[in-house]
Amino acid sequence: MILQTAFMGLFGIAAIWFAVVVFRTHSMVRSALALLFSQAALGAMFLAMQAEFLGVLQIMMMATEMAIMAIFMVMFMMDPGGLGQMEMTHQKRLSQAAGVIGAFAALGIAFLAGWGNPAATAPGPQAQLRGLGLDLMERSMLIFETAGVTILTAMVAATAVAVATRSATKRKEDRE
């Protein structure tokens, strides 16, 4: 239990540190990589919490997701390398206040609510996967299917939005 807590704390601190780096560095590539490390540290934290499948899933998903994100960042940013030290923030006071209040509200609930006795042991990886599979195909099947349909809708929507502007771009180019 002590070792588990120590590793969770270690990976948790790593995740928090890299999450801070995401918004402090000026370079976009560094920012995307810091987010990748932050999410991977969360994945390692899930592994420390004995959620093997979820931990590996998190690390794999985030590795690909952040690689794609890095490409888009370099495409869309004015100053991807961060060499110009461009100012990229606005409403700083309000955001800091909102962040601190949000964190303290969550902390207040976390520490004031009575969670009952924590469970000492978790099922092994095989039992977990079996239980998750049965849950997905029985009790939570409708929710799981809804997620699938949502993915399909989002795919169609994202493609439609990205393609629809092509004619607008063409008109703009013709004008120029």
């Binding site: 918004f23 998903m61 794609i68 994100m69 929507a157």
Partner: protein, 101 residues
């Protein structure tokens, strides 16, 4: 005790993400803030599953749903970003005043 460590990490990640999403001017950076917030939510879900109900699995299903949301907000966000970049040549929030409701 380990439950509280996880909840602490989740709460701090949520705060950092909220700050990032509100303070950044670029669409991609705002989406990064949202991802950090959802990461905090994931920590809480796994911790609640592991330390409160390790033998029932809807908690893990909820994790999968949140992970889907993380992937989808990226996909739709980049779709909108591409459209905006084609039309206006930038995805800065400061230059998108006409989108204000």
């Amino acid at each position: 005790m380990p439950l509280y460590v996880a909840l602490l990490v989740g709460a701090i990640m949520f705060g950092i993400g909220l700050y990032g999403a509100l303070s950044q001017t670029n669409l991609v950076m705002i989406m990064m803030g949202v991802e950090v917030m959802l990461g905090g939510a994931l920590v809480n879900l796994v911790a609640f599953w592991r330390f409160l109900h390790p033998t029932v699995y809807p908690g893990q299903t909820f994790f999968l749903i949140i992970m889907t949301v993380m992937a989808l907000d990226m996909a739709v966000g980049f779709g909108v970003g591409t459209a905006r970049f084609r039309a206006r040549g930038s995805v800065e929030a400061e230059e998108a005043g006409e989108l204000k409701g």
